[in-house]
């Protein structure tokens, strides 16, 4: 319970503050209307971008409102022994797995023998390059204070710093694409995509993945609730 002293302090400090607030809701309404107009133009354009625009807006809206930060899901267990956000991410991955699996299963039944470029989803070769790339990404994400997606979210909120991160991202991604042949020659060319359903029954792969995610959820919960060492 906060003591009276704390409440008095807050009361004292907040007395003359209300004049400094503005109502930004009208701007939000204008922007919403403009977004719908743009969606209409994209729809008339007929290249199928409307879905990307509208789902993008929804993703940004949800990320901002729930303060969902992917960098924090990787980081806060180490920094603050807090895994609440990581557990939300695991929940999200379980839901995603069920949905993607249904879409993939349907697709594979109609298109047996489809390649990785055709199966709905995203696939990449796995090997030492994944290890190195992910490690670099993990370091960068934490020291920049946000991942590739939260850079976009924070630009939307009006912050200036993520513009610098975005510039860095442009530089890094260009260098990475330029260097790609070296990495390809030294480690990527002998690796391939590992698509779990190719190594077991489709249902078993989905079940295994969800079982592992559920176990990680329990582990994360245990990690947060265990007694401090002190």
């Amino acid at each position: 319970m906060p003591s009276d002293g704390l409440n008095d302090l807050i009361q004292e400090r907040q007395k003359s503050r209300h004049a400094q607030r503005k109502n930004q809701v009208p701007y939000a309404m204008i922007l919403l209307v403009l977004s719908c107009v743009y969606a209409f133009f994209l729809w008339r354009d007929g290249r199928g971008y409307t879905a990307f625009w509208l789902v993008g807006i929804a993703l940004g809206f949800v990320m901002r409102n729930s303060r969902f930060c992917f960098a924090a899901t990787f980081r806060d267990a180490f920094l603050f022994k807090n895994t609440k956000l990581m557990r939300a991410l695991i929940l999200s991955l379980i839901i995603g797995t069920l949905g993607f699996a249904a879409i993939q299963f349907q697709y594979l039944r109609n298109h047996p023998g489809a390649g990785y470029d055709e199966i709905p989803g995203i696939f990449d070769s796995v090997g030492l390059h994944t290890v190195i790339g992910a490690f670099l990404f993990g370091v960068g994400m934490v020291i920049a204070g946000g991942c590739a997606a939260s850079v976009l979210m924070r630009i939307g909120e009006g912050h200036a710093l993520p513009l610098i991160t975005l510039l860095g991202f442009f530089i890094g991604t260009t260098l990475g694409a330029k260097d790609y042949p070296n990495w390809y020659g030294s480690m990527i060319q002998n690796t391939g995509v590992v698509y779990l359903p190719e190594y077991m029954n489709f249902g078993a792969a989905v079940f295994l993945q969800i079982a592992v995610l559920a176990a990680l959820y329990r582990l994360a919960l245990w990690f947060q609730n265990r007694k401090p060492e002190k």
Binding site: Q24, V25, Y49, V55, F74, F135, V139, E157, V193
Partner: protein, 190 residues
């Protein structure tokens, strides 16, 4: 709880205040997670493409280089990833394509959310050290994302539901990187 005490003084005037409070109140993390998962499924079901971010960044960056007279689209990288980029390059829609539209949508959605909560505020950069860390972090993320077939969205958040093993490897080693990043942050930034 009870972090809205000062607003409670004005509360009760009419419904708009309740509405404003509701718009300001952060949603729980789990709700965000559930909705992001569902939206990713929706995007895949409707468009056949999963949520990804860094592909759009690469196209923007390469498009800028092209303006400066370089020929990035002749690099081997774009030959290796033909199916993903060939059509975009062929139709000269490097700045205007599904990936960049998706990215702009995310920024626009966050802007709308911030305005609805009346919490939009222009920020500024605190100092050279902060800027240097942001730039370096961006470079590391950008470089890393080219090796792993995408950032933590395309390579991981969409990769795990795709049942691709690379996303699991990404998760483990991005955690390791985040651990080192956290140490660096404590050492140099506080």
């Amino acid at each position: 709880m009870g972090n809205l005490s000062s607003e409670a003084v004005n509360f009760g005037k009419d419904g708009t205040d309740a509405m404003k409070r509701w718009l300001k109140k952060p949603w729980p993390y789990w709700a965000g997670g559930v909705l992001l998962g569902l939206l990713n499924i929706l995007l895949l079901a409707v468009s056949g493409t999963v949520w990804q971010v860094s592909g759009g960044y690469l196209l923007w960056a390469a498009g800028i280089l092209e303006r400066f007279g370089l020929k990035p689209f002749q690099w081997d990288y774009f030959q290796s990833f033909q199916p993903r980029y060939a059509e975009i390059i062929a139709t000269h829609s490097v700045f205007f394509n599904q990936y960049t539209i998706l990215n702009l949508g995310v920024a626009a959605g966050a802007l709308i959310a911030a305005l609805l909560a009346s919490q939009f505020k222009l920020g500024k950069i605190k100092g050279w050290k902060q800027a240097a860390f942001a730039l370096l972090g961006g470079i590391l993320m950008g470089y890393g994302s080219r090796l792993t077939g995408g950032c933590n969205i395309g390579g991981f958040f969409s990769g795990i539901p795709s049942l691709s093993l690379h996303a699991w490897v990404f998760w483990i080693f991005a955690m390791a990187g985040a651990w080192l990043g956290a140490k660096l942050l404590i050492r140099f930034m506080t």
